[in-house]
C-alpha cells in the first residue's frame, strides 16, 4: 500500500509542477461556469415566458434539477472526452520515452503496485474534476428559493449524478491508462484514447439505428447509457457493477502489459 501511495503522490506532484493540472482544472471550471451561466439565463427566460403566458401550472413544473443541474452534469462528462486523454497520455508513455520506466521496474515494487499507484493518482484528478461542478448546485442552494419548504435544490439526484459522473471518469481514466501502457509516444496515447472515448460516446447513436437484441447489447456496452440514468437520479446496482467491472478489467489488462516487460 505504501508503494502505491508513493507512486500516486508522484503522479500528482507532476500534474502540479507542470501546467497540466492547472490547465486542466482551469479550463474545465471555466467551461462549466460558461454552461452554468447559459442554462441559468435560459431558466430565467423560461420563467418570464411562463409568467407572461399566465400559466402558473407550467411554472410549478420548472425546477433547478431538471433545468440546470442535469444539463450541466451531462455537459461535464462530455468534456471528459477532451480532458481525460490529456491527463492520461503521459502516465506510462512518458516513463518509457524518458527511460524512467527502468527505475520503476528495477525498484523493489511489483507491477500491480505501479499500475494501481498510477491509477490512484489520476483517479484523484477525476475526483476533483467530478466535485468541482458542485459549486453550481451550491450557488443555487444558497441563492435560490423554493416554492415550498426546504432547499430549492433536490440534493439526492445531485449526489447520484456526481457519483455516476465520477465512475465514468474512472472508467475513462482506466482506458487512458491502458492505452498509455501500450506506447512510448504521448501523442499516440492521447489520440488513441480520444478515439476510443469518442467511440463510447457514439455507441448510443449506433444502438439507436439497430433493432432487437443487438440494440440492447450495444446499448448496455455504452457507458453513457449507465451514466445518464444516474444523472436523472436513478442509482442502480447494475450500473455500479458495470463501471466497477470495466475498471477492474482495464486495470488487469494494464497490469498484464506492464508485467510483459519483465519477460520480453
Amino acid at each position: 500500500m505504501r508503494n502505491i501511495l508513493t507512486i500516486a503522490r508522484k503522479e500528482l506532484s507532476i500534474y502540479f509542477t507542470t501546467t497540466i493540472g492547472y490547465l486542466g482544472f482551469g479550463a474545465y471550471t471555466f467551461l462549466m461556469g460558461l454552461v452554468f451561466v447559459t442554462t441559468l439565463n435560459r431558466y430565467q427566460q423560461m420563467t418570464q415566458y411562463y409568467l407572461g403566458q399566465q400559466q402558473p401550472q407550467l411554472l410549478e413544473q420548472l425546477n433547478f434539477n431538471d433545468a440546470i443541474i442535469q444539463p450541466m452534469l451531462s455537459t461535464g462528462y462530455w468534456m471528459f472526452l477532451f480532458f481525460v486523454p490529456f491527463l492520461t497520455m503521459r502516465l506510462f508513455a512518458e516513463e518509457k520515452s524518458n527511460r524512467t520506466f527502468e527505475l520503476l521496474m528495477t525498484a523493489p515494487v511489483n507491477s500491480l503496485e505501479i499500475v494501481l499507484g498510477k491509477f490512484f493518482g489520476v483517479a484523484f484528478m477525476m475526483l476533483v474534476m467530478s466535485l468541482l461542478p458542485l459549486v453550481f448546485p451550491l450557488i443555487l442552494h444558497v441563492y435560490g428559493t423554493s416554492s415550498g419548504e426546504g432547499s430549492a435544490v433536490e440534493w439526492m439526484p445531485v449526489w447520484s449524478g456526481l457519483l455516476m459522473v465520477f465512475l465514468l471518469g474512472l472508467t475513462f481514466a482506466a482506458i487512458g491508462l491502458f492505452i498509455s501502457s501500450l506506447t512510448e509516444s504521448q501523442i499516440v496515447a492521447a489520440v488513441l484514447t480520444f478515439a476510443v472515448l469518442l467511440l463510447a460516446f457514439v455507441l448510443p447513436f449506433i444502438a439507436g439505428r439497430l433493432e432487437g437484441d443487438w440494440r440492447s447489447v450495444v446499448d448496455y456496452l455504452s457507458p453513457l447509457t449507465h451514466v445518464s440514468r444516474g444523472v436523472l437520479g436513478r442509482l442502480l446496482l447494475s450500473d455500479l457493477v458495470y463501471f466497477g467491472s470495466l475498471v477492474a478489467f482495464l486495470l488487469l489488462l494494464t497490469h498484464r502489459v506492464v508485467e510483459s516487460h519483465r519477460w520480453r
Binding site: 507512486i7 507532476i14 525498484a107
Partner: protein, 238 residues
Amino acid sequence: MIEVRGLTKRYRDHVAVQGLSFQVEPGEVVGFLGPNGAGKSTTMRILSGYMPATEGQVKIAGVDVFEDPLAVKRHIGYLPEIPPVYLDMTVRGYLLFVARLKGVPGRELKAEVERVAAKAGVDHILPRLIRNISKGYRQRVGIAQALLRNPDVLILDEPTVGLDPIQIDQVRKLIMELGESKKHTIILSTHILSEVKATCERIIMIAKGHIVADAKLADLEREHDLPLEQIFTKLAVS
C-alpha cells in the same frame, strides 16, 4: 556477491550476449569493458532485474534474480545508461520519491536524501527542477539515486558518459571512495579505458557478447605484455 552462470540473451534472431559466466566477490570493484554494442548494457539490465535472460542464472547475495526479483532489487543500486530522472520534479522531490520506493522508513527519509546528495555532490541544487539542471548534474542525481539505502551491490552503466572532464574526475573519485570503503560491490560498464584504469581492480572484457578476458588489471597487462589499450583492440577485434 554476484554469480553469473551461462547467461544468454537473444532478441529474436539477434544474440546480444552468449554464455557469460563470472563471479564478483563482496567489496570488489569490477570494470565491465567492451566496445559499443558488445552487450554491456544488456548484461547490466539483466543483473538489475530489468529484463530476463533467455538462458542462464544470475544470483545476487545468494538469491536468484528470476526467482525472487523483489528481494534481489533491495540489494541493488542501479544507474541505467540514461539517468532515470523525472524532468518535472525537483532534485529533492525525486530523491525522496526513490527513497520511499526503496523502502527507506519515513523518519530517516530526509537524512538519507541529504546523505546521498552530499555524496554525489548535488546537495546544493536540491530545490531545483531537474529539467533545468545540466546533463552532468542529472547524471549525478542518477548516481545519488543508486546510493539510496546503501545497497550492497552497485550497478553503474557508463557512469561518466556526457560529463565534462572535471565532473568525470569527480565521479571517478566518488566510485573509488565507494570502492575503498569495501561496503559495496561495484560493477561498472564503460568503453573508456582510462576509466577502468583509474577505478577498477579487475576487468571483465566482453566483445560480441562473449567474455574475452577476466583478470586483474596488472595480471592482464603482464600476461599480454602490452598496455591495456592494445590488449583491448586486440581482444575486441579477434
